[in-house]
Amino acid sequence: MSAILIIEQVLNGLQFGVMLFLMAAGLTLIFGVMGLINLAHGSLYMVGAFAAAAVAGVTGSFVLALAAAMGAAAIAGVLVETLVIRRLYRADHLDQVLATFALILIFSEGTRWAFGSFPLFLDTPSWASGPVTLPGGIEYPKYRLMLIGVGLAVAAGLGLLITRTRIGIQIRAGENDREMIAALGVDISRLYTLVFALGAALAGLAGALVGAIQSVQVGMGEPVLILAFVVIVIGGIGSIKGALIGAILVGLTDTLGGIFLPEVFKLFMAPAGATATGSALASMAIYILMGAVLIWRPTGLFGARP
C-alpha cells in the first residue's frame, strides 16, 4: 500500500469525521447541552434532506435547497418542542425515549406518505462537484472539502455559542435546574424552543449537505442517529470540543479499520477468511472504540467528571 494512499485514507477518515460532526452537531446541542434524549433527531435530518430535494427539484438552486432544509427542519423542531418535548422536561428520560420513538414512526411514515417509497434525487451543485488536486497529487472531491469547511465552522460557532455567550450559559443552567433559572428571570421555555429549533436546523442542514452525496430516503436518519449518539458519548456529553474529537476518532476508526483490518488479517490468515474476518471486525470497530473509551473514561473524553 503506497504512502500516498495511506495519507489519502487518513484524509478520508478526517473528512468522514468532520461530516459525522456535522450530522451530530444539532444533537450535540439538544442532547449534549440541553440534556434531552431526542430519538427523533434523525427524522429532522431526514426532513431537511427531503425539503432540500423537493426545493432543488423545483428551483434548481442548491443554496435555496439548503435554506429550505434548515427552515423545514426548524419548523418541525419548533412543532416537536412545543407540542411534545416541552411537556417532558420534568419527566423521566424514559418518557422522552418513548415519545421521540413515536415521533420517528410518525415522521418516517408521514414522509413516505408525502414523497413515496423511492429515494429522491439531490445532487451536489455543479459549482462544487468534481475533484480538485491537492498538494502531493491527491485528487479530492471539491464538495467534500466544502463539507469539512462547513463542519468546522459549525463546530467553532457552536463552541462559541455555548461557552462564550450568555445564552450558552443560560442553556446550561437550564439543564442543571430549569425552575431555578426561570425564577431568576430567564424565559427558559422560549430559549429552549429557540435552541431546539437551532439544533433542528443544523440537523436539517446536515441532512441536505450529506444527502447530496448519499441517498435521500425514508429511514436515512436512523443510522445517523446512532452514529451521532456514539460520537457525542465518546467525546463526553455537553462538550462541543469532545463531540468534534469524538467524531474525528470515529471517522478515522471506521475508515482505517475498513481498509487496514482485512490487510492485517491477511498477514496470518487465508485471504478469503481474512477479508471476511477483517471486515466483520471493521463493522464493529466504532462500537469497540466506544466501549473501550467508556471503560477507560466512564464519562467520555471530555465529559464532566462526577
Binding site: D92, D95, V97, L98, F101, I104, A280, Y287, L294, I295
Partner: protein, 327 residues
C-alpha cells in the same frame, strides 16, 4: 394499590381466557399472537429487573435475547443435521430438548451479562445506555457477518423442539409452556422486589452513596441484578426462536432492545405487570393496525405519543390511577 391488583388479576385472566377462547373457536393464529406477546413479556420482565428496580437502562438487552435465540438455533441445527458441535477440543451433540436448550441459553446469556455488566457498570446514566448499546451492536454485526450459522439470513429449524410430556407443535401447549415460564418469572420478580436484595438494589438506584455508607457493595448488587435480568431475557430469546422456528441477527438489533424498553415504559416502569401489559398492548396494536393501511405505523406512533403525554406511569399508571412510583 387495590386497583393495580385488580388490573393485574384482569391481565392474568385475559392471558388465560383469550387463548382458551381461540382454542374453542379454532383461531390458532390468535394463540400464536398471544404466545408472541407472552414471550416478549418474559423478556421485558427480565429487562425490568435491571431497568425498573436497578435503574440500569440497558439498550443492549437484545444481546441476551439473541444469545438465547442462537443457543436454541445452534443446538437444534446440529441436532437436525446430525453434525456434532465442536468447541475447541470439546465435541457436543446438538439437541432438540427444550430444557437442555433453556439451560444453555440461560448459562450463556448469564455469562455474557456478567462480562458486559462488569465493564458497563463502570459508567452510569446515558453513558450506560450507550455502552450497552455498543455491546449489543458488536453481537449484531458479528452475527451478520459470521457465515457458519447463516449470517444475515439466519437459521431455520424445521420442527419445534420438544418438552417432556408436551406436544409443543400444538400451539396451545406451547403457549401454556410459555405462560408457565412467564408466571414463574413474575413470581420471582415479585419476591425479589421485596427481598433484602431488592431493597438494596432499589436503594442503589435511588441513593448509591447511601448504600455504600451502610457497608453494602452497590455495584455488585447491580451486577447481580444485571445478570439475573440477562438470564431471563436469554430464556425468552430461546422461546422466541422456538416460536418462530427461526433465528436471525435481527434478534440482536438495537431496535429489538428499544422495543423491550418501549414495552416497559408503555406498561409502566417498575410495575410488576407493566412489561406484561406493555408487551400485550404493543403486539395487539401491531396486529390490529397492521391491516389498516400502508401507513399504519403513523397510527401506532400517534397512539404511543398519546400514552406518554397523557398517561404518566404508562398504562398501569393510567388505569390504576396512581402516579408512577418514581418520576
Amino acid at each position: 394499590m387495590i386497583r393495580e391488583t385488580w388490573l393485574n388479576a384482569a391481565t392474568l385472566t385475559l392471558l388465560v381466557a383469550v387463548p382458551a377462547w381461540a382454542l374453542v373457536v379454532d383461531e390458532p393464529f390468535t394463540i400464536t399472537l398471544a404466545t408472541r406477546a407472552v414471550i416478549f413479556a418474559i423478556a421485558a420482565v427480565g429487562l425490568n429487573i435491571a431497568l425498573g428496580l436497578g435503574g440500569l437502562v440497558s439498550l443492549g438487552h437484545a444481546a441476551f435475547f439473541g444469545i438465547g435465540g442462537y443457543a436454541m438455533g445452534i443446538l437444534a441445527h446440529h441436532a437436525q443435521t446430525y453434525v456434532p458441535l465442536e468447541i475447541g477440543p470439546l465435541t457436543l451433540a446438538g439437541t432438540k430438548s427444550m430444557p437442555v436448550i433453556w439451560l444453555t441459553a440461560m448459562v450463556t446469556s448469564g455469562l455474557a451479562a456478567l462480562l458486559i455488566g462488569m465493564l458497563s457498570l463502570r459508567t452510569a446514566g446515558v453513558y450506560f445506555i450507550m455502552i450497552t448499546l455498543a455491546f449489543g451492536q458488536m453481537f449484531y454485526f458479528f452475527a451478520i457477518s459470521w457465515p457458519a450459522y447463516g449470517g444475515e439470513d439466519g437459521l431455520s429449524i424445521y420442527v419445534r423442539n420438544g418438552f417432556p410430556g408436551l406436544n409443543t407443535l400444538v400451539p396451545i401447549q406451547f403457549y401454556g409452556l410459555c405462560l408457565g415460564v412467564l408466571l414463574l418469572v413474575l413470581g420471582g420478580m415479585f419476591l425479589l422486589a421485596r427481598s433484602p436484595f431488592g431493597l438494596a438494589l432499589n436503594a442503589a438506584r435511588q441513593a448509591p452513596g447511601r448504600v455504600e455508607t451502610v457497608g453494602l457493595n452497590g455495584q455488585r448488587v447491580k451486577l447481580v441484578a444485571f445478570v439475573i435480568s440477562g438470564v431471563i431475557t436469554g430464556l425468552a430469546g430461546a422461546l422466541f426462536a422456538d416460536l418462530n422456528r427461526f433465528v436471525a441477527p435481527t434478534m440482536f438489533s438495537w431496535q429489538m432492545s428499544g422495543e423491550l424498553i418501549i414495552f416497559i415504559i408503555l406498561g409502566g416502569t417498575a410495575r410488576l405487570f407493566g412489561p406484561v401489559i406493555g408487551a400485550c398492548v404493543f403486539v395487539l396494536l401491531e396486529h390490529l393496525l397492521g391491516g389498516l393501511s400502508e401507513f399504519w405505523l403513523v397510527y401506532l406512533g400517534a397512539l404511543l405519543l398519546i400514552v406518554v403525554l397523557f398517561a404518566r406511569g404508562g398504562i398501569v399508571g393510567l388505569l390504576s390511577g396512581r402516579r408512577a412510583v418514581h418520576d
